[in-house]
Symmetry: C2
Subunit: 472 residues, 2 copies
Amino acid sequence: MKSSTQTITPRSEDYAKWYQDIVASAGLAEHSAVRGLMVIKPYGYAIWENIQKVLDAKFKETGTANAYFPLLMPESYLKKEAKHVEGFAPEVAMVTHAGGKKLDEPLAIRPTSEVIVNESFAKWIQSYRDLPLNINQWANVIRWELRPRLFLRSSEFLWQEGHTAHATRDEAEAKAREMLELYTKFTRDYLAMAVVTGEKSESEKFAGAETTLTVEAFMQDGKALQAGTSHFLGQNFAKAFDVKYLDTQGKEQYVWQTSWGMSTRLIGALVMAHSDDKGLVLPPKIAPLQVMIIPVNNDKKILDLAEKIDGELEEMGISHEIDAREGRPGPKYFDWEKKGVPLRIDIGPKEVHDGELTLARRDTEQKETIKISGMASRVQDTLNDIQAALLAKNEKLMAEGTMNAEDWEQLKSSIGKGFARGGWCGSRDCEDKVKTDLKGTIRCITSDGNTFNKCAVCGAPAKHSVIYARAY
Amino acid sequence: MKSSTQTITPRSEDYAKWYQDIVASAGLAEHSAVRGLMVIKPYGYAIWENIQKVLDAKFKETGTANAYFPLLMPESYLKKEAKHVEGFAPEVAMVTHAGGKKLDEPLAIRPTSEVIVNESFAKWIQSYRDLPLNINQWANVIRWELRPRLFLRSSEFLWQEGHTAHATRDEAEAKAREMLELYTKFTRDYLAMAVVTGEKSESEKFAGAETTLTVEAFMQDGKALQAGTSHFLGQNFAKAFDVKYLDTQGKEQYVWQTSWGMSTRLIGALVMAHSDDKGLVLPPKIAPLQVMIIPVNNDKKILDLAEKIDGELEEMGISHEIDAREGRPGPKYFDWEKKGVPLRIDIGPKEVHDGELTLARRDTEQKETIKISGMASRVQDTLNDIQAALLAKNEKLMAEGTMNAEDWEQLKSSIGKGFARGGWCGSRDCEDKVKTDLKGTIRCITSDGNTFNKCAVCGAPAKHSVIYARAY
């Protein structure tokens, strides 16, 4: 690795540029030759591998099996569910030629796989004994973006998409809530991000769903980022693709369905939730490297101690490396700071002499001298502390950035700064006014009941309590 | 799961139909709405996940990091390496429309990623300190097939593609050999398949490579299946994409490269190497389920014993399930036989009474009664035996199916039955004659030196010893 010479624009100066600088200087991703498509670099991909590992195990605990469905589908399939095609058609990429010939029918690259999954479900499901059917796929999808941004809005992204089929409405609705809960816990416990959850409004829900549940995270500039969604699809796709089962009475019934997804956009969320003007900050539970050992020079005693610590961390199952490159430690500190390694262990002549180690936290920049003998538990405790501190910090940020908006003036003044919690009359007009005049959206209808009397937009009686915000 | 009612065509009657029947009745994959594209069903995908887990860990041991490169590349990029585009152009799928508009330049869906990887390598590599660079990607690719077959020849498949860059020719050639060796060991030790390895002829090598090394496996009908390839790319792509480094003397040099891949075609190879007329047969090291426990009825004592065995297998880390579906055991035996579960544990009243278990091997169909007390080691030993027995059986099959071909008559009579080992003068004419007249190809130039005096095709002095065979 070369020492990075890239400087990072401060957040206060240009937040968008700061984000780009963090992504570049940490080596997470870069633009490719095709506008809107990104290369996920090894360090960025290692974060995705950790996300995959945790989510995949959790999905399997809930009885989900992985499968793989094709990248391409006939254009006509996409059109079978009316709302679905309406929502996705503007973003679809079309294959018109293959094998040296023009195709009889253009093929759509999947923007999501509900239609192609349901073609298979119609074959796989015959009776109530085949239900529930819980399937997940790890895949790439294409949704053409006009204003692409690395991770946040890229024309290709990686994700998981879960697809389930159930015998009853209740069971499918419960599954959609179960996955929302799983996503919420994952986002909090692993990504250390505070979230608000709830239902999307009619205009914001997934094209083809009856209801969309969402996990909304809070970014440092006060904007929301949709971290994951879980859809209750009702029988919309079942009817479009004739997915039926014989119930216990031998009667044909359409299945009830859900779908749910999280994507590489979470890496962009991690950047914007935790990082600072010095570089990336990562929660230990998802960091590719939890600890970096820095020998301050190549003295044999120093390197021997570094090797000893290396062995102990290995046994503890803590991911780590020794940075034994030649040169002064300063540039090394700088590199790992930019890459967001949660904890550094510095080893120099003083440490060797005193039988001590210096721990340096990435999040607080605090240093601590510890005895080598108690290293194992102190390192593990510190990593746990960092994980908890990042969540607490992000929770505080969200709490302080969430304002009550009783009326239009309050909504107007708060929406640029953070989340505005307010009433909503339920009308599309008011929602559109927020979009047009304030560049904001209803992020979700909060699930803790309506606590507002009036719509923050029009002043009419409020039906729901919602979060208004600008969003990525 | 429903009991499968599908019957399997015997191999002797119709080998191609037998293959389809095994894939269908084991629930591995099915055709999708787009001809040539397949759906990999959960049981088939679980085999792929096991293959991924093992290979990924082995790659990482050799210092390889994963990354992700875009699905689409400008058509013009594909054309930068002349031989490469010549080889792949006929199979490429082209995106011409996206985001509701015709694109200025058509985009090719990757048939492989050398060109797009090298676009990044040119940015990532500056000096000798950046080398070697070892990158792998797990991805889907499209190569349009006119006569598609599930797993063996599908227009979309999943694979891994490794891409490396080195300072010297020697180092790159050594890497290509290292990966061939890794693939060879993996194919033998995990997939239990006998293989021949060697170099591809000029006409059979990867489009754009200097040399292609290959792992060729032996199928039950005597055909070869290319299980993995490792290419030494020389400086072909480095020159096309200007991938240079500054050497220790500060002089600009082109890098030397390799690429190497294995794909979901291995699942087709597993089917054709080991399975029989009753269904799939899987090596324990790669089987999604190693053991199936079958309680012959729902008597409480029987179920209790099944639970106890379940707990012990869990502790041992052996993947397993209890098939507690209602009904007679016969149809259950039949189901798991078709799915190739290596070992069955039957538990009935006799077993409960005698404190014993009945083990039934899938491969030999042998049954054995064992004491419950010694269960753990006996089950593990039996799984090891099955793994070894499958390899031994496949080795014997290959040995018996490999004939020496001293001349054209011998070549002609042996190539339909198995591998023909013979001399080759090195001419393209002889290679083409084997293709046209015998529907065979040179699978590889064997690495154990030339032991034949004459070319099996034309009788001229032999330059190489090769394997002639028909292939998937």
